[in-house]
Amino acid sequence: MTDATTLFHAERAGHTYGTGATAVVAVREVSCAVTSGARIALSGPSGSGKSTLLHMMAGLEQATSGSVDWGALDGHPAGRPDQVGIIFQGVSLIPSLNAVENVALPLVIGGMSYDEAQNRARDAIGRLHLESLAAKLPDELSGGQAQRIAVARVLAAGPKLILADEPTGQLDRAAGIHVVDVLVEAADELGAALVVSTHDPAIAARFASRWTMHDGILASVSPHDDDFTDRTAS
């Protein structure tokens, strides 16, 4: 059911780490789709395969079985921050660059001049009201502040799909909610789809669509979600 608005589509897609006796099946036969404008929370216990699935959506991890495609995107999204923006579970800022430089980095890598990239970065930081953090180094930022700068980096690059892997994992609830608000704000500005993985039900509750994973299986979704078709259920 790929159409013009389907940013990511998986058909019985799975991912297995390693081979033979040590093989770990992280994602099993998942079929799903993310359409533009979607706001999805992905929850599930630790080790259930959330990160793996997000990495598959970002093209950073291949599907070892089944198929995936990014119909509405401009080709394969790996290394294309203007297509898919990702915020990692841990720290994803370069420690030797300050906030503005970190935000400008994907633009410069994409070929933009540093001056222009810096302006865009400041702009993105400003839109998320993070001006006071602009000149700080990652070491000098709190976990929540660092994640919000990572959001600014995604915003500056302007992707159509934003993936955030437990952006709130190491934060207290208030800080976590703040980061999620900033994420939603960024997605709204860009008109992008947003997928956020989280352990926290309070955070999941803020999303229209809620997907749940268990042992690599995308098990359940909130009832009014139309983006999800559970074809693994027999």
């Binding site: 950073l60 290394g79 370069i94 420690p95 030797s96 660059l97 430089e101 980095l105 994907p106």
Partner: protein, 886 residues
């Protein structure tokens, strides 16, 4: 538990572990190899000192004592292998009539020797022509008397009738100085030159001749017992010296006044032990920085794994390991690294020793055979402890205060910077250098005959402080350039990073702590290689100059005194194969006031072609300038500094010398004009002498005779050319190749064979430079990995990633090479200045071994580029895995 942990270490992170082991290995091997150089150099010095002399002891029999009794006592002394009775008698002169003319000489000495003398003391007599037994005549005497084997010589004896002898052979007495020494007299009371006229006759004939003489002039006769001592001596020259001196004193005591011992062997060892101290000093100056550098590199590499170690320890702690267990694990790791590295290092040095010095032994004596390897091993162990345990305990502490945050290189500026330790150290280094290079200061003091030797260890502070101070200053400058000149840095990295340049520059400026430390290490490694290489080639060059100064040229042909050979004879010499050019050198004596000095007449325009004239030999101008002045003005003259002072001479002033006129044999006054000062000149004595134009001297004295010919062979096959010349010239002149001078210049370190040290040092320097290039990249590896992973998730392609890492490599390489080359030059200049005793006269300029230095730089830069590209390649592993690792 320890075994599991160690197995984990070896399988999980072999890189840092192996690098640490390798660092310890290199430090241990360097120290142990240099120790083995030292031991082998000392042993060879002892051997050379002992084998270089013909007669070990000359025991002078006191008047009225029985020579036979003295000989018995001598033979009974421990270590004595042979004792031979030799008679000495003064003659009033020798005469001979050949081919219708009669020649006579001044006073001389008649030696009575037993038939087995030449076999017992092979170094004493060199047979030139004729028989090897019977009456032998010294070559110079034969030349004075125009006699050959078969001719008859009459010796005059004071107060009794002369005696006639038929010459059986012509010989050379290479060690005439010690043969005719005044036994028991201090150096200052020794005759300035051995007698010109010497006849050696069988001891039986001598007994007859001396019987008549002793009746009227017993004071003209004396007897010596010539002694061969065992040369199985302790390898260390100082120890040997003490042993031999004590034995000589012992013998003298046993003789109880019946004889005095002239200790030639002791005197030779005395000179050698000074050289031995210089070898020790050189070892310290040249070798220690390398070992320290290897240590620093090792510690730095071990430190680069600190992040991972911190995580492992945290894991252990969370799994319930007690602090004591963690400490035990770390200690076990350090000990194993130290022991394995140490053993490998000793094995490597044994291999190096057998290749470079032909022996794998570590020491000259049993003591040093254990001490050197043990010492090196302990140093290696301490490096391992510092490298492994110190960062571990530091991490442990910081973990406890829970500040184990993600660290990046931007620590605060090092404390030493805020109180200007670098400037301070450099200032002190300059002061120490000033003091230790003052005239009158000597690095090694080995007073003749005194058992103890003083080495002035203060001199080490100069170069030592320079090393440290300069290292810190390079660090400061590198930090400054990285941190405070963003525009410059951006421009510098743009060629490799393109539009990422500002970001790369910003990132590098934040990592200036790590980058500047890497630059310092790279610079120090290059400086070590550079200074060692430059010092070594300068030394070798200077040794050559020294030998040439003593010998005159590659080969020197000396005419006997009074010969009338003219410069025209040069054509005979240049006809011999291998001769490139020949320069005649006049040798006369001139009175200045009542003072008699040597005068050398040169062809100023061409003398430099046959020998090396160093600027250091002269004052008031360079060698070239002074020779030009001589050439321009026929009556120009160079005099010694002492003469200038004594006569208050000013440039251009008239100086009147009295020289002998050839035809009248009378002294004539010749006017010269003083144009400069000569302190040294090839073949000239160490004290005062004159250098003038030979044409002018010939014109004023009517005498064109030449003292010697300086033969230039282009430095090649001097021995073969010398043999050719000897064949052509026969006994009419003495031919000495530079190789002979090289082995007889024994008073300075030039006699220490540096070849082994040079090879070992240069090899290690190269290894260190390459290792530094490769290893500095291990610093900051963890950060670099993370940066790469993030950048590649954000879309950086391989070229961009390579650019980022090459930018860092370029900064370290360029900064390190520039700083290292500069420091290397300054250090070698300083080494030359401090090791003044080694160089006499000091070299005018440093000799730069360009091929070696270029090779070193190329290899080091290759290593750093290789390491950079490798680390860029490694970063191609899926970035997501790296990110999960963090």
């Amino acid at each position: 538990m320890i075994r599991i942990w160690l197995r984990g270490l070896i399988t999980r992170r072999p890189g840092p572990l192996l690098a640490t082991v390798a660092g310890v290995m290199i430090a241990v091997a360097l120290l142990a190899s240099l120790g083995s150089f030292l031991a082998s150099a000392q042993a060879s010095m002892t051997t050379r000192a002992a084998s270089g002399i013909a007669v070990d002891w000359q025991v002078q029999v006191s008047n009225g004592s029985s020579a036979a009794a003295v000989r018995r006592t001598v033979l009974a002394a421990p270590g004595v292998t042979a004792a031979v009775t030799v008679g000495y008698a003064q003659t009033t002169g020798l005469t001979a009539s050949t081919q219708g003319t009669t020649q006579s000489t001044g006073s001389g000495v008649i030696l009575g020797i037993p038939a087995n003398y030449a076999a017992t003391f092979p170094g004493q007599i060199r047979f030139l022509t004729g028989k090897r037994g019977g009456v032998l005549i010294a070559q110079q005497t034969a030349s004075n008397l125009h006699v050959a084997p078969g001719d008859t010589v009459t010796i005059g004896l004071a107060g009794t009738r002369p005696l006639k002898f038929i010459i059986a052979g012509v010989v050379d007495l290479p060690q005439a100085n010690s043969l005719f020494q005044t036994v028991g007299a201090p150096a200052s009371a020794q005759p300035t030159a051995p007698p010109d006229n010497v006849l050696l006759i069988p001891i039986a004939d001598f007994a007859k001749a001396s019987a008549a003489l002793s009746a009227v002039h017993p004071e003209l006769i004396h007897t010596q017992i010539h002694v061969a001592h065992s040369h199985a001596l302790p390898p260390d020259p100082s120890v040997s010296f003490v042993t031999v001196t004590e034995a000589a004193h012992n013998l003298e005591a046993k003789l109880a006044g019946a004889g005095r011992v002239g200790d030639n062997l002791g005197a030779s060892l005395d000179a050698a032990r000074g050289d031995s101290s210089y070898a020790t000093v050189l070892f310290l100056f040249l070798g220690l920085p390398g070992a320290v550098l290897a240590g620093i590199l090792t510690v730095a590499v071990a430190n680069s794994g600190a992040d991972r170690r911190r995580r492992e320890q945290a894991l252990l702690r969370t799994r319930g390991a007690s602090p004591r267990l963690v400490a035990r694990l770390v200690t076990a790791e350090a000990v194993i690294v130290g022991v394995v590295g140490g053993v490998l290092g000793l094995a490597l040095s044994a291999a190096v020793g057998s290749i470079a010095f032909g022996s794998a032994s570590f020491g000259a004596s049993v003591g040093s055979a254990v001490l050197w390897p043990l010492g090196s091993f302990l140093v290696g162990l301490s490096i391992a402890v510092i490298a492994v345990i110190v960062p571990a305990t530091r991490d442990f502490r910081s973990m406890i205060v829970s500040e184990a945050r993600a660290q990046i290189g931007i620590r605060k500026q090092p404390i030493w910077m805020s109180f200007y330790l670098d400037y301070l150290l450099l200032a002190v280094a300059v002061v120490v250098l000033f003091i230790t290079t003052q005239s009158g200061y000597s690095l090694v003091l080995a007073p003749e005959g005194v058992a103890s030797i003083q080495v002035n260890y203060w001199a080490f502070f100069g170069p030592g402080l320079l090393w440290i101070g300069a290292g810190l200053l390079i660090w400061r400058i590198a930090r400054f350039l990285l941190g405070h000149t963003p525009r410059l840095l951006t421009g510098f990295v743009r060629p490799v990073t393109g539009n990422l340049a500002p970001i790369a520059a910003a990132s590098m400026s934040r990592q200036r702590s790590m980058l500047s430390r890497a630059t310092v290490m790279f610079a120090l490694a290059l400086a070590f290689a550079g200074s060692t290489a430059i010092f070594n080639s300068t030394y070798q060059q200077q040794a050559e100059v020294d030998a040439r100064l003593t010998n005159g040229a590659d080969v020197t042909v000396s005419e006997p005194p009074g010969s009338s050979v003219t410069p025209a004879a040069a054509s005979v010499i240049s006809g011999v194969a291998g001769v490139k050019s020949v320069e005649p050198l006049q040798h006369r004596y001139a009175y200045v006031g009542s003072d008699l000095q040597d005068l050398f007449g040169v062809r100023a325009g061409s003398i430099a072609a046959a020998t090396s004239l160093q600027d250091a030999y002269f004052q008031e101008g360079t060698a070239a300038q002074l020779m030009a002045r001589l050439a321009a003005q026929p009556d120009a003259i160079l005099v010694s500094a002492e003469t200038v002072k004594d006569f208050q001479l000013h440039p251009g002033e008239l100086i009147k010398l009295r020289l002998q006129n050839a035809s009248t044999q009378k002294l004539v006054t010749v006017n010269f004009h003083y144009v400069g000062v000569a302190n040294e000149f090839p073949t000239a004595p160490k004290d005062s002498f004159f250098i003038a134009n030979s044409d002018y001297v010939t014109r004023m004295t009517g005498d064109a005779s030449v003292g010697s010919f300086l033969v230039n062979t282009g430095g090649q096959s001097t021995n073969a050319v010398a043999a050719g010349l000897r064949h052509k010239l026969g006994t009419s002149a003495t031919v000495v190749p530079i190789t002979a001078a090289r082995s007889s210049v024994g008073s300075s370190l030039t006699s220490v064979d540096l070849a082994g040290l040079t090879r070992v040092e240069l090899a290690f320097a190269l290894v260190l430079a390459a290792a530094a290039g490769g290893l500095v990249f291990a610093l900051g590896l963890a950060e670099r990995k993370r940066t790469f992973a993030i950048a590649s998730v954000l879309g950086a392609n391989r070229r961009q990633l390579r650019g980022l890492v090459l930018a860092e490599a370029a900064a370290i390489a360029v900064g390190g090479t520039v700083a290292g080359a500069g420091l290397g030059l300054i250090l070698s200049q300083m080494l030359v200045a401090v090791l003044t005793g080694v160089f006499d006269p000091p070299p005018t300029i440093l000799t730069i071994p360009v091929p070696y230095l270029l090779a070193t730089i190329v290899i080091a830069l290759g290593a750093i580029t290789g390491a950079a590209l490798l680390s860029a390649r490694r970063s191609r592993r899926p970035p997501i895995e790296t990110l999960r690792d963090i």
